[in-house]
């Protein structure tokens, strides 16, 4: 601990004011935390809004319903695999105002939220010249990309 340049006791740190200017001595990446916080919050809000809109349209029966499940059995009968999911099916669905496709877009927005956070963290580490962390963060991002393009599908 003595070998660290860690900020041991800075009693003056005001936790209620995150955008404090007295942070230059603090080696902790403080502005980074603010950005991360915003990205997560806004990402979830956007995703939840899109999913809400899609769900409301579905329940209200508005928009095109091509391929949409009509009964519970449509959902359960085939084990739920009745609606094939692909980037083009989502794209065409949204273009024709399909409520299910809108929900799927919202789910994608949700998956993209942590990914955006990781990408942004990589950039911020790059600005700070933290090479090891740029490498770590980049690998995490690549793993997420592999997950998103779907290894198992």
């Amino acid at each position: 601990m003595s070998m660290q340049k860690s900020p041991t006791t800075r009693e003056s740190v005001e936790e209620d004011q995150p955008v404090s200017t007295a942070m230059e001595i603090q080696p902790g990446p403080h502005p980074m935390e603010i950005y991360i916080s915003y990205v997560l919050r806004i990402g979830v809000l956007i995703a939840a809004a899109i999913i809400s809109i899609g769900t409301a349209l579905f329940v209200a029966g508005i928009g095109s319903s091509t391929g949409n499940p009509k009964t519970i059995n449509d959902v359960l009968g085939s084990g739920g695999h009745s609606i094939p999911v692909s980037p083009s099916s989502i794209f065409h669905g949204i273009a024709s105002g399909n409520s299910i496709a809108i929900i799927q877009l919202g789910v994608l927005a949700l998956i993209l939220t942590p990914m955006t956070r990781v990408a942004m963290t990589a950039v911020l580490f790059m600005i700070q010249g933290e090479r090891i962390f740029v490498a770590i963060t980049t690998v995490v991002f690549l793993v997420l990309v592999i997950g998103l393009v779907g290894v198992g599908s």
Partner: protein
């Protein structure tokens, strides 16, 4: 309003309740979603897992945003360990496709019991002293500080046994990808017992990592067709509402009393899942 609309509305309200209980016991809003959808709604466990993993991203990201802003999260520790959890999650989601539904029920029951156990006896409330940074920790400058509301100052802490923590995190990632949960209990266990981080930092950093871990496997479930929109949408929205209400309530109520009420419920749910797996129920 027809049957399927009613189904969506029922799931929405049930997910609010599940999210509320999950966050009140401190295991995260998503932990009860799979039991809810399989036991109460009779859905296929794979679809339950698909819906659950999506809701986990939603609830954890909201909580993570608050912790990060409050400087409780150790971003460097989180990023390092996300390497292990994300690779583990991809592994888990990949393997899940080849496992029998019964095996998933048994695993879920077992993991839920294991998650409940540490919360009965709250471990490591105090900040560990006598911890020295290991080689990796020094190299990556993982030691940090967090604000202590009681004294108004900051508490500094060291980080040790990074390789062990990393290994445990890989397992936590596999469990998350396999069962569609955040596996926050396992993450906290790794940071608390192996790496000796203060409890507050462990919880906050665990939350920070859950979103990335869940996102790593969610894409696989999504394209596989296991994230069924009419199930996943009310689940995600319901859990989000439930967890938000839960977080507000936790500030007002004593954490321990709430736990005493709901822990038996969770234990019963875990046993039920386990029995379904071995074919008794």
């Amino acid at each position: 309003m027809n049957g399927i609309d009613l189904f969506i509305i029922e799931i929405f309200f049930a997910a609010i309740a599940a999210g509320l209980i999950g966050s009140l016991v401190g295991l995260g809003g998503g932990v009860l979603i799979v039991p809810l959808l399989t036991i109460a709604f009779g859905l296929d466990i794979r679809l339950a897992i698909g819906a659950s993993i999506v809701s986990v991203i939603a609830t954890s990201s909201g909580a993570a945003a608050a912790y990060v802003r409050d400087h409780l999260t150790n971003v460097r520790v989180g990023m390092t360990l996300e390497l292990a959890t994300s690779i583990g999650a991809v592994t888990g989601a990949f393997v899940a496709a080849y496992l029998n539904a019964r095996v998933l029920f048994i695993l879920f029951g077992a993991i839920l019991i294991l998650s409940v156990l540490p919360t009965v006896k709250k471990l490591g409330e105090n900040v560990p002293t006598d911890v020295s940074n290991d080689r990796i920790s020094s190299r990556l400058k993982l030691a940090s500080t967090y604000p202590d509301r009681a004294s108004g100052g900051v508490v500094s802490y060291n980080v040790t046994k990074v390789p062990l923590g990393f290994g445990m995190m890989y397992i936590a990632g596999v469990v998350s990808g396999l069962l569609g949960i955040g596996s926050g209990a396992l993450k906290v266990l790794a940071m608390d017992t192996a790496m000796r981080l203060p409890m507050k930092v462990s919880s906050a950093t665990s939350n920070f990592m859950i979103g990335v871990t869940a996102a790593a496997s969610a894409g696989i479930y999504f394209w596989r067709g296991d994230v069924v929109p009419v199930i996943a949408a009310p689940v995600a929205l319901g859990v989000l509402v439930g967890a938000m209400v839960g977080a507000k309530l936790l500030i007002r109520f004593q954490n321990t009393t709430v736990r005493k009420i709901f822990l038996p419920v969770l234990a019963a749910v875990a046993i039920e899942m386990f029995l379904r797996g071995i074919g008794v129920v």
